[in-house]
Amino acid sequence: MFRCVMGFCTAATMLLAAALARAGGDADLVMPQHNPADEGVSFFGIVKDARGTPLADATVTTTVKNGPVIMIRSDAAGLFNTGPFARSVVATEVTVACEKDGYAPAKGIPRTVVKPDTKKPVEMLCRLARQ
């Protein structure tokens, strides 16, 4: 199955290894449950207006440098959670921005200093001022 000679694997066998590890989601029972050790940084927090009232249904846009854009919505309590990124993602290369109709868009501000190699959940606050 693996044709690696002297430590050098052809692209196809590398791909096959990846295929075995990450087989597409046909059935939950054959998918190995994902390992928390594989999880990297995530961003969670709350969207609030200028008075501190949580804002539901705000669009929270998470952008990874040279990577995807993830568009989520704050829930009824104004909360959002991006879910974990891969461990390779650099925490300082992720931006979180919020917007909602009738408000000026704003950036999410982390509540603690974010280091590039942070792999834990980072709490954010997004304050929207009325337009």
């Binding site: 196809a12 791909l15 597409g24 029972l29 854009v69 568009m71």
Partner: protein, 545 residues
């Protein structure tokens, strides 16, 4: 040029098989009444007739007076008769001669002797004890066989472990008629397999001669759900597994064969059936294709599953062109299940996927080269599977993450991914359709919902399927703005009005494993088409209002 009705085009000749509205009794129609064993009229009973020697079965449904009338295309002749009404069996008549002397064909029913044999997959899941998490793995089993097969098995929990592992070793394009094995075995979560084995042993016949739980059945259709005519056209070989069904401007039905390397074409008006075979580029690997889509130029495209790559068919010349994966993207596990060529004229690209790597692939038609895009590369490892696809006017791709809970968008120019998580977690969106406004309608397979995504507003709207354990596979928005849906579990076709949330469910005459659906908007009234994936037939459903 081939024009799929979704784009909108002039209506063809009226469909001969569709019932035409008739005034009074211009022509004799075969009809009668359905009576229970106690002699009471029964509503919602499916009455099916098949002419001797014919390959078409016509079905209507008894109304609230127990009355039914077959359409005008059921002419004089000798017919075999069948019924479907859970709890009942046909007492008489088994066959009937319809002649000018016929007044009526009354149907007498008896109690069924084997209720279990009548349950749909939905009714089994409703009957089995346990919560949804315990039942969740069973929604995959329906792909290849009925849940009745599991319920009737005698394996205990220990014996079930190797059985479950064997199941996972079959190709997803496997049917009871054509069992195919994967070339590359899949990795297991042993704890999950063991848990499933325990659960299945608690709901099958391993512990006694009968089930430890009552068999729950769904009520028969009522009112508008009885106002329907269903034609089922048997295909010439039991091994044919129609998966994606599309109707062209001439009313001919094209379909992908899920287990054999044929593209099928069926004319319901003439009964003509033709198959176009394409080569197996990977001998020894499972054969058959999943998705069938038309591009803008009169070509059909197939996603050939484990044969890998893409297959293009020129309708004018009846010839195939095969696009093979390059060696750096090709493994024994490579699997192309979806293809989206609809806007290939914009930039010469066709989208597809590779199930084995959770990736999107994009073909450049001119060079034959493929590039791979991993939309989930920056996320922590999790279950993902780019599946149902749609493209906008710029050939940007929208895809359903069938392993997860998002809709993804890949920009045609930058190849940047945007992910839109669906409000319902673990919903496993499956197939989809983009309407004329660019909005995406889709089926949330694991959440029992149909839904709408408006990418302009980044807004979702969801509707619960009216029957629990329906597991919708696909949706289609018709020209009247009504949303149709069907799947592998309930033998029902859903027709939902998104404006009001009101819906009708039409129950089909037989157990019918449905995948892709198609609404012929050019027909009057709109007509539903799908393949019976395990029943080697094409189903045409015409509502009467």
């Amino acid at each position: 040029m081939l024009a799929w009705p979704r784009a909108g085009f002039a209506a063809p000749e009226p469909h001969l098989a569709a019932p035409e509205p008739r005034l009074a009794t211009a022509e004799p129609r075969l009809g009668g009444r359905v009576l229970s064993p106690r002699g009471e009229p029964l509503e919602g009973v499916r009455v099916s007739v098949r002419k001797e020697g014919a390959a078409v079965t016509v079905t209507v449904v008894s109304d609230h007076d127990g009355r039914f009338a077959l359409p005008a295309d059921v002419g004089f002749g000798r017919y075999a008769v069948a019924v479907r009404a859970v709890g009942f069996a046909l007492k008489s008549p088994a066959s009937f001669v319809f002649s000018p002397a016929t007044e009526r064909m009354d149907i007498a029913l008896a109690q069924t002797q084997d209720l279990a044999a009548q349950l749909s997959n939905t009714e089994w899941l409703t009957s089995m004890p346990g919560d949804f998490e315990q039942k969740r793995p069973l929604i995959e089993c329906m792909s290849c066989h009925t849940l009745e097969r599991i319920a009737r098995s005698h394996y205990d929990a220990t014996q079930l472990v190797p059985v479950i592992k064997r199941m996972a070793g079959y190709a997803n394009n496997t049917t009871m008629q054509r069992i195919q094995r994967r070339a590359v075995p899949r990795k297991f979560d042993d704890a999950a397999v063991s848990k499933l084995a325990q659960y299945l042993a608690s709901v099958n016949l391993s512990r006694g001669p009968s089930w430890s739980y009552p068999l729950k059945t769904l009520p028969r259709p009522q009112w508008r759900a009885t106002r329907v005519v269903i034609h089922q056209y048997d295909l010439p070989r039991k091994s044919i597994a129609p998966h994606d069904v599309r109707v062209d401007a001439d009313g001919r039905v094209w379909y992908s064969n899920f287990v054999e390397n044929f593209l099928g074409r069926f004319d319901p008006r003439t009964g003509e059936h033709k198959e176009f075979d394409y080569p197996a580029v990977k001998p020894g690997f499972p054969t058959g294709a999943l998705a069938l889509e038309a591009d803008g130029g009169g070509h059909l495209w197939l996603a050939p599953m484990f044969q890998s790559g893409l297959v293009e068919f020129d309708i004018k010349t009846s010839t195939f062109k095969i696009y093979r994966l390059p060696s750096n993207l090709s493994t024994d596990a490579s699997q192309q299940s979806l293809v989206m060529p609809r806007q290939s004229q914009v930039d010469g690209k066709v989208w597809t996927n590779d199930v084995s790597t959770q990736a999107i692939l994009r073909l450049d038609i001119a060079t034959g080269g493929f590039e791979s895009i991993d939309p989930f590369k920056f996320l922590a490892p999790a279950s993902h599977s780019p599946y149902g696809m749609a493209v906008d006017a710029g050939n940007d791709l929208y895809f359903m993450d069938f392993g997860g809970e998002s809709i993804g968008r890949v920009d045609a120019k930058t190849l940047r991914t945007t992910l839109y998580p669906i409000p319902t977690k673990r919903s496993r969106p499956r197939r989809c359709m983009m309407d004329a406004q660019g909005r995406i309608w889709f089926a949330e397979f694991a959440a029992n919902k149909v839904a709408l995504f408006d990418s302009q507003k980044d807004a979702f709207k969801e509707w619960d399927a009216p029957t629990p354990h329906t597991y919708p596979y696909d949706v289609f928005l018709d020209r009247n703005g009504e949303l149709w849906s069907a799947g592998m579990a309930s033998d029902r076709v859903l027709r939902l009005d998104p404006a009001t949330g009101q819906s009708i469910e039409y129950l089909l005459p037989l157990q019918t494993n449905i995948r892709r659906i198609f609404i012929d908007d050019s027909a009057r009234p709109v007509t539903f088409w799908a393949g019976s994936n395990h029943g080697a037939s094409i189903v045409e459903l015409t509502p009467l209002d």
